[in-house]
């Protein structure tokens, strides 16, 4: 039988203010620290890397792990740690560039289509339908074939290939916002269309767009690495994770370690990115949030019964 004394009133207040479940799950903490480490490592690659990542020393071909070369050396004797750090810099920068290209064209286009609608919207969306009927990597191949090989070409190719997705998202969000009261109010003040679109509508779409773009960064890293791996992206001798994979896989029987290093780097990066974006999404959706059992909850917050 429950009692209704003073102590239990406190219990009631406790449960009211407690937000059960936390954003900082162990997985989230681990993943964000890994991401932070990778970012620091690649940003300060110039200071941290012990050697020039492109310095060839054939006498050190497939060097083992030694105090001088912590991760060994590759087929032409380049220091793997240095190449890993600089390779990360290439991979991450390129991924951001891809997203940059997508955003700078896709979002304004989406906003305009959503805001004005009409023939412009109709035509552009039909074009996107056709482009989106291609599987993403195939479109990448097509654009690489069009622009030629190399890192600039692959960044452009992917950036363009992803424009339809993001601009369609921006368009749909704009259409949802377009008829809301605050937009009508802004219009009634006589603000210009450009001001309404970029100062009023865009800020209300950013959270959704940002969530999408975070995922896209991880995806861009994978696809860029795939292109380099197939020899269509970043070209030797630049350090790049995808390229390291391609170069080492040929000699995988002689030195599996050299393949393991970039695989682990890419894998860790992607897994961490996913865990972070996932944890945030789960936390924001109470329906999905994990709840402790009755027994555990009561043990933690004291019993009422």
């Amino acid at each position: 039988m429950r009692q209704y004394g003073k102590g239990n009133l406190q219990g009631g207040e406790l449960t009211r203010t407690t937000n059960v479940g936390t954003l900082f799950t162990p997985a989230m903490v681990a993943a964000s620290s890994i991401l932070l480490l990778i970012l620091i490592g690649t940003i300060f690659a110039g200071f941290l890397a012990p050697y020039d990542p492109e310095a060839i020393d054939l006498s050190l071909s497939y060097g083992p792990i030694t105090p001088e070369h912590i991760l060994g050396t590759d087929n032409v004797g380049r220091d793997s740690l240095s190449r890993l750090l600089f390779g990360g810099r290439t991979a991450i920068t390129n991924a951001f560039l891809v997203v940059g290209v997508t955003v700078s064209v896709g979002i304004p286009l989406g906003l305009l289509c959503g805001y004005y609608g009409g023939a412009l919207d109709g035509v552009i969306m039909r074009i996107w339908d056709v482009i989106l009927s291609f599987p993403p990597l195939l479109l990448g191949f097509l654009f690489v074939a069009m622009f030629g090989r190399g890192s600039t070409a692959s960044i452009l190719a992917l950036g363009i290939a992803w424009i339809p997705m993001i601009s369609r998202l921006a368009r749909n969000l704009t259409i949802a916002e377009r008829n809301k009261t605050y937009v009508l109010a802004a219009k009634s003040f006589g603000f210009s269309d450009a001001r309404v679109i970029f100062r009023h509508i865009l800020p209300n779409c950013t959270s959704t767009l940002l969530a999408e773009l975070t995922v896209d960064i991880g995806y861009a890293i994978i696809v860029l690495a795939s292109l380099s791996f197939l020899g269509l992206g970043v070209q030797a001798p630049t350090s790049d994770w995808g390229l390291m994979l391609q170069e080492s896989l040929v000699y995988v029987r002689q030195s599996p370690l050299q393949t393991v290093i970039p695989s682990v780097a890419i894998g860790l990066m992607i897994v961490s990115l996913n865990i972070v974006s996932d944890s945030i999404q789960l936390y924001l959706d109470p329906e999905q949030r994990k709840l402790p059992s009755f027994e555990r909850f009561l043990k933690k917050h004291g019993t009422h019964s």
Binding site: R2, Y4, L9, T18, V20, F294
Partner: protein, 314 residues
Amino acid sequence: MTVEFMTVRGIVYAVQGASLSLKQGEVLGIVGESGCGKSVMVKSILRLHREKHTRYGGQILIEGRDVLRLTQKEMGIVRGTDAGMVFQDPMISLNPIIKIGEQIAETLRIRKSMSKRLAYDESLRLLRQVGITPPEDRYLQYPFELSGGMLQRVMIAMAIALRPKILIADEATTALDVTIQAEILALLKRLRAERGMSLIVVTHDFGVVAEMCDSVCVMYAGEIVESGSVERIFASPAHPYTKALIDSVPRPGTHGDKLSSIPGMPPDLLSVHTGCAFYPRCSVAEKCCETERPELHSAGGAHIVRCERPIWKK
């Protein structure tokens, strides 16, 4: 009985110390505002809450058997045969991608091991009984092809397919138009008479209670604050909340008068309240009501009220 839920915001004390009983063939009304625990209570009869985050207390007896002590497998037999249930919104309570006839027939096939043909015939009979014509055509339609009133009839046919002893109508008419509401209520009344079932009608509308019920329970903040026969409670409501609810129902002949309403909102069930739950909104409250929890008092015979300052004392 008590029902408590675990949620992201803490434990919800949905139903506390509620107690009610039902005789065979009786029609019981459960009345209260939204969020008072009416639905939670009747859903507990069939144990429809997610077991993992729900804690039941007390007992629910159907013919002497406590459903709260049964295994899941035994529950499967209780559901449908001991008690059937009709839900609030028929639009979402029927599976959108299965033909409505099939949704009736499957129960018969699985639970009564009927053959396909027998179940089909029996489903048509049930559809006809709840007033759906022509049943052969309706049998093959999907829920999105029927109106809300029709769907509620189908829900009723589903609920009575296994000839339950109790039929629970959980706000069964709330989502419907007024004219359809009356039809559904008439249907429920007719079926109860034909089949000798007991009926539990959950509603927030005292008009429905007056129309349908023999006895009534008024719920507030997860507690039963008043119960008794319909005539008795309408004639002399004892709890101020009951009186306020009855006064807020429009009546013929009082045209032009201002309808009264109850100020404020029902309390948040996340915390346990001390004193009377209705205190903040009560028009006749006194100081002691804030701190002292009211006990159940008899107001004559089976008429029970949970109030220290019941209206009849004045």
